[in-house]
Symmetry: C2
Subunit: 243 residues, 2 copies
């Protein structure tokens, strides 16, 4: 049995690949990586070869065990599918009826696109604003940064509270151990911090500690090897700046 993952460079596909490896699926995965044109759109081959009309990544293809085909799009749905089908032994999502813990993980899992919703308008502005409007761009970025900073504050508070309750090395988003919530939100936090999108020159030390703990995991490092480009790792950034 092979699960095929269409992986666009520097995309949310990293969330899915990392989750798959954490779930012990590395040997069953076939990863097809694709480049971006000028750092933006996917090369047209991805849409053609995946057959997914929107041409987006991640896109996952699996067989359903009954001769049929499973197609999953959107990174959160891909993660949920992999856990649902192959993760019965995993502790990455608490099982019913631990409703309080389970809904906490699922809330944070769903949250992973919220800071992106606040950060991407800034990216789109940078792409599309005429060069002559540099001061207007700066002014708009400033206004749009407020919500991004609020979201990062929410991460910071959650990690700090968790480090306090569970020990310095066990601060995760939804409690004292890693969950699907961390795998999904790490991409968001890395992206925003490394690209400095809406960060208003602020830093979030607990978020950085949390990211570095996550990035040191063998499954994360293996995902970097197996997948396409992922230019947002804080650990790699540190290495480059010391080189």
């Amino acid at each position: 049995m092979t699960i095929t993952l269409y992986y666009l460079d520097n995309s949310r596909a990293m969330r899915v690949l990392w989750a798959a490896i954490e779930l012990g699926l590395a040997d069953q995965l076939q990863v097809k990586s694709y480049a971006r044109v000028e750092g933006k759109k996917a090369v047209p081959e991805m849409q053609k070869e995946s057959g997914f009309k929107l041409g987006k990544s991640p896109f996952l293809i699996d067989d359903d065990g009954q001769g049929g085909r499973v197609e999953v799009f959107e990174s959160v749905a891909c993660i949920e599918y992999l856990h649902d089908r192959y993760g019965s032994q995993s502790s990455l999502l608490p099982a019913s009826p631990a409703w309080s813990q389970k809904s906490r993980v699922q809330s944070w899992l769903a949250f992973c696109e919220t800071p992106m919703t606040h950060a991407l308008p800034i990216i789109y502005l940078r792409w599309h604003m005429p060069e002559s409007q540099a001061s207007l761009l700066a002014e708009m970025e400033d206004k749009l940064s407020a919500n991004v900073c609020k979201d990062l504050d929410l991460y910071e508070d959650a990690i700090l509270a968790s480090e306090k309750e569970h020990g310095a090395e066990n601060g995760y988003l939804a409690g004292g151990q890693i969950s699907l919530a961390d795998l999904a939100n790490a991409f968001t936090a890395e992206y925003i911090i490394v690209k400095k999108v809406g960060t208003a020159n602020r830093t979030w030390p607990a978020v950085e500690r949390w990211l570095k703990r996550l990035e040191a995991r063998p499954a994360y490092r293996k995902a970097l090897e197996m997948g396409g480009l992922h230019d947002f790792s804080l650990l790699d950034l540190e290495r480059q700046s010391h080189a």
Copy 2:
């Protein structure tokens, strides 16, 4: 047993309220509605009374059946929680091992924020761009509309294909019957069409037929009665324009 839903006017809380009613939970729901300040931020009372630090809506509080408290944020997580806990008899999400059908519903469910990610930058521009920059705003809106239109095209194709396969009255996003995917994405499509955000003067007839089918459902109409403001119903818009 009471489930409390914090409902901000004209927000994604509509998704959750509607889903709760479809799941037969109307009598167990306590809905607390809050206004927006100048059509934007929530009144400060909502954050204070809900105790949810980010002050966002929807926010759901339930008891866990063991003397503990369940707190859920993000509309998709709220919907999943309600279905997971109270929807075992519902057909709104196919059960395992119908992986192909289940992952289709979950992909579309996760997709519900994707068009918002493309539409909200336009809303933020409208809020924050200086009035003197009207022509630049129009130019930027034009550029940002491409992705919104692509997303709406994806809805249109899915509904058309489903109407063709399952009959004119049974065209839903993830197959021939209503699912959680429709409940979540209706808000997105209503919002974009009614506010004309990134629509580039185009129309999507199958999407409009689908929305009107959904809005005619007793549970949707009941949600309009029980919740706060929801100014995006196409049926109500039609009534107003005929009045």
